[in-house]
Amino acid sequence: MLDAKPAKPLVTVKDLKMYFPIHTGLFRRHTGDVKAVDGLSFTIFEGETLGLVGESGCGKSTVGRALLRLYELTSGSVTIDGDDIATLSSEELRLKRPAMQMVFQDPQASLNPRMTVAAIIGEPLDEHTDWNAEKKLARVYELMDAVGLNRAFANRYPHAFSGGQRQRIGIARALALNPKFIVCDEPIAALDVSIQAQVVNLLEDLQEKMGLTYLFISHDLSMVRHIADRVAVMYLGRIAELSPREPLYADPLHPYAKALLSAVPDPDPETEGKRQRIILQGDVPSPSNPPKGCNFCTRCPEVIPICREVKPELAEVRPGRFVACHLVTPDNQKAAPGSTGGPEATEHNQQGEPKK
């Protein structure tokens, strides 16, 4: 998996933080922050698909948007193709925009209801090229062909399309300027299952043809397994584990990754019957007031005292596998076969195991 890819990093994220200020009281004083993304570092290599998974509200979408600087970063740097997005001036950023595009979650909301399909797909061309109308139209038709839309639809409005077709329009718009990097922000979450496959296959075909790099944000773990080369598991604004796909799904190291992946149903009824789910207790802590130590320490079935005091850093514990956990240490290589993780993890499979 890893060795098949060219190892040139396209996107490098260092210590990305995205806080949303909370203002309270009569004078709207700044009383705290929602720490949506709290110190994220990762690299996306050229031509690969990095899956980003995690439960609702863990900051996945915020990461995607921050990467394209749709939000002003609180701190950290995002280097895409050699330029630090976080510090570019607005005009430089505008010129940089064609290299990075986004496919949105809700294909209904991401298309202007008052524009025709041709106008929507052509909008990036209007902004970044000085082509004449004919050339733009030719390009729009080319893009519609590429995503499998009938050319005769060019003059229709988004409301006349089904969800899958709308998502194709959104993808065509993202492709218009030949980007290198596309953030797919849950592109399939609003589609029904048969259409999900179509859209994902379309994304894969396009990646193959155009050499695209994806950040694929999703909470659909099986779909991520299908499309991603490497997967980052997020919990409460931090990466818990970042591993190549197969090792992660076969043998997750971080307790949260274990719990999350134990929820993936298995199509094989034999193994599905034996699948033991790890049910986590309690709720996700508020991102405005995360725990002092590890963000997962309030719900972790394997919590040890140091977890409540010190935030674990993301470290490479196996070749290519990064985990932020005190229990998983680089020298700790002897994962028991069949078990999922370190030797400390002996009782974690008991459902509803009380903790603390």
């Binding site: 948007r65 394209l68 749709l70 950023l93 505008r94 010129l95 925009r97 064609p98 990075m100 595009q101 986004m102 949105f104 979650q105 809700d106 909301a109 991401s110 298309l111 202007n112 209801p113 008052r114 524009m115 025709t116 041709a118 909008e123 990036p124 902004e127 970044h128 139209l137 038709y141 009938n150 050319r151 005769a152 060019a154 003059n155 409005y157 409301h159 959104g170 718009r173």
Partner: protein
């Protein structure tokens, strides 16, 4: 769906204004409204050429006559021909109503969009709006007329000067509701994903507003525009009634109404005709606005 139809249809996207017109034509009320509006406008513009009686000519012997061939709509208490006065009054009423509506619409939309889109301007612009809303309208108008009437009349002539003054006075005192409604809609629109998508493309604010925000706030703007005409006409007649608008012998529909009011028992037609014309005007504009709003919305189009 087959290839040859693609070639035919894909030659060139059809200009979408044709779709708007197609949809507009299916709105019966809007079509009737447009015909009535056209009749009123053409009548007031061309009518005086066919009915060339001076609306200011006083014939005290022919006062308060009923309808006759010489005076189809009768005469008023000074013997002036009512038909001529209605025709002449329509011209100025329509002009004042439309121009004041346009002015208040432009102001309201501008303030609303700027306040909604640019967070930094929101506070100051909305407080300005509150300020204008809190101003007592009539005293303000009185003050404006008193201060600016003389200089305007001197530079633009008595009718032009008063026209500018009235249009301005009505325009700057009636934009606030439009601004508030537009701001609210812009605030909601700004968070929609297609605006975010456009930002990820790198669209600058100016084009973002023109391309994404304004077309989507068209509906409330249309509604406040059609209501604004009626409002402007009524304010104009109130000003005329107070003796602050056009000179007393200068006919507008509002003034004709006010003049006819004391005589409503003797000759109700003196009130009925201008009132009918006024209602027809306002109603037709409302229907046109309604049809236009529907036609401009692609989701309704084609139903």
């Amino acid at each position: 769906m087959t290839d040859h139809t693609i070639d035919l249809k894909a030659a060139k996207p059809r200009n979408q204004w044709w779709d708007v017109w197609d949809q507009f034509r299916t709105h019966r009320g809007a079509l009737i409204g447009m015909v009535i509006f056209a009749v009123i406008v053409l009548g007031t513009l061309l009518g005086p050429f066919f009915w060339d009686v001076d609306p200011k000519f006083i014939n005290i012997r022919a006062r308060e006559l009923g309808p006759s061939l010489a005076h189809p709509l009768g005469t008023d208490q000074l013997g002036r021909d009512m038909l001529a006065r209605v025709l002449a009054g329509g011209r100025i009423t329509i002009a004042v109503g439309m121009t004041a509506m346009l002015l208040s619409l432009v102001l309201g939309t501008l303030v609303g969009v700027l306040a909604g889109y640019f967070r930094r301007l929101d506070g100051i612009l909305m407080r300005l709006t509150d300020l204008f809303l809190a101003l007592p309208l009539l005293p303000l108008l009185l003050l404006m007329v008193m201060l600016f009437r003389e200089p305007l009349v001197l530079s633009f002539g008595p009718e032009g000067g008063i026209f500018i003054l009235i249009v301005f006075a009505i325009g700057v005192t009636s934009w606030m509701h439009a601004a508030r409604i537009v701001r609210g809609d812009v605030l909601a629109l700004k968070e929609r994903e297609f605006v975010l998508a456009s930002r990820s493309i790198g669209t600058p604010a100016r084009r973002m507003i023109l391309r994404h925000i304004l077309p989507n706030v068209m509906s409330p703007i249309m509604v406040s525009a059609t209501l604004g005409v009626a409002n402007a006409v009524i304010t104009e007649s109130a000003l005329s009634f107070l003796g602050l608008g056009f000179p007393p012998d200068f006919p507008t529909w509002g003034r004709l109404l006010n003049d006819g009011l004391p005589y409503i028992n003797l000759s109700p037609e003196r009130v009925i005709w201008p009132a009918l014309a006024l209602s027809a005007l306002v109603l037709s504009i409302n229907y046109i606005g309604d049809g236009l709003r529907d036609a401009l919305d692609p989701r309704i189009r084609g139903r």
